[in-house]
């Protein structure tokens, strides 16, 4: 269409109530300047005939079509929202892991990754928990905070934690041969990353009395402790 503006005009006819505009048809005719456009084109509103379309080749019937009509599934345009981080979890918070190999361990929270999982570290030297991803739902946030300002966690994201894909070769011999793979060792790069993150963390932890021992110990419910009454 001719005469497109750079920014679309918001309507010149404000709503009094939904469905009822402020100005009548004749007033709007004047506001839109249709009289001026007509005057420019000699009393007739300019019309553009549709451009001649290129001839479309006739569609051939497909070789195969199902006997009964097949329903197309409805379109799903849903985009999942980014996981909301609990207000009690801020960088440097001590978290208690509730499930998995490190159940009960007290651990330092570093940052939330784009997948919604929390990046967490023991530190490794203190309680054996490496840089690890953890789901927010399996975690209790305590109100104890550690100073995390000296730590750089920019380089860690979900791709860093992706499993390495192994190439399998098809062959009969594979089944009879003994498993050549022994335990996969952690690449040195990851060990270096762990040391770098933990270095400044451990310094700030040692600055607080008893915090190192606290992080080394596991949490457990003792007799008489009521979780719904405990303040974490």
């Amino acid at each position: 269409m001719a005469g497109k503006r750079k920014t679309p005009v918001k309507t010149r006819n404000p709503d009094l109530i939904r469905g009822v505009g402020k100005y009548s048809r004749s007033k709007m005719y004047h506001k839109r300047g249709l009289w001026a456009i007509k005057a420019k084109h000699g009393g007739v509103f300019p019309r553009h005939d549709p451009k001649p379309k290129a001839p479309v080749a006739p569609e051939k019937a497909p070789k195969f079509y199902p006997a009964e009509d097949v329903k197309k599934p409805l379109l799903n345009k849903r985009k999942p929202k980014p996981t909301k981080l609990r207000a009690s979890i801020t960088p440097g918070t001590v978290l208690i892991l509730l499930a998995g190999r490190f159940m009960g361990k007290r651990v330092v929270f570093l940052k939330q990754l784009t997948s919604g999982l929390l990046l967490v570290t023991g530190p490794f030297k203190i309680n054996g928990v490496p840089l690890r991803r953890v789901n927010q739902s399996y975690v209790i946030a305590t109100s104890t905070k550690v100073d995390i300002s000296g730590v750089n966690v920019e380089k860690f994201d979900d791709k860093y934690f992706a499993k390495e894909v192994e190439k399998k070769k098809k062959g009969e011999g594979e089944f009879f041969e003994a498993e050549k793979e022994d335990k996969k060792t952690l690449p040195d790069e990851k060990k270096e990353d762990q040391k770098a993150v933990d270095g400044s963390l451990i310094k700030s932890i040692e600055g607080v009395a008893d915090l190192k021992v606290y992080l080394a110990a596991r949490f457990s419910l003792k007799s008489g402790m009521k979780p719904h009454e405990l303040v974490f």
Partner: protein, 134 residues
Amino acid sequence: MPFKRYVEIGRVALVNYGKDYGKLVVIVDVVDQNRALVDAPDTVRSQMNFKRLTLTDIKIDINRVPKKKTLIDAMEKADVKNKWENSSWGRKLIVQKRRASLNDFDRFKLMLAKIKKAGIVRQELAKLKKETAA
């Protein structure tokens, strides 16, 4: 065993049920057999059933239904706050509140302190035992 704490005007009571649980209030008038008019420096004067009150040993000197300012002055004069906080009942409540508000880290530090104290006590006991045995 006669009663020692009576419901009277000026009796300080502890609220043991409801929205104002744990607050100290003063009985300012008696409505009927079951209810009292009750007032405190930080609450609006209202009626309460006696069943919601536990009487304390503290009594202040006021007339029936005093003005708020008179009540506050009388409480200051009788030093209700300090008397309460130094009484064994009051001290127990304070300790309970402190224990309930402990952090996970605080509880851990408390555990370490208890173990340390027990160790010291046991050492002293062993010393004393050795002395009496010898």
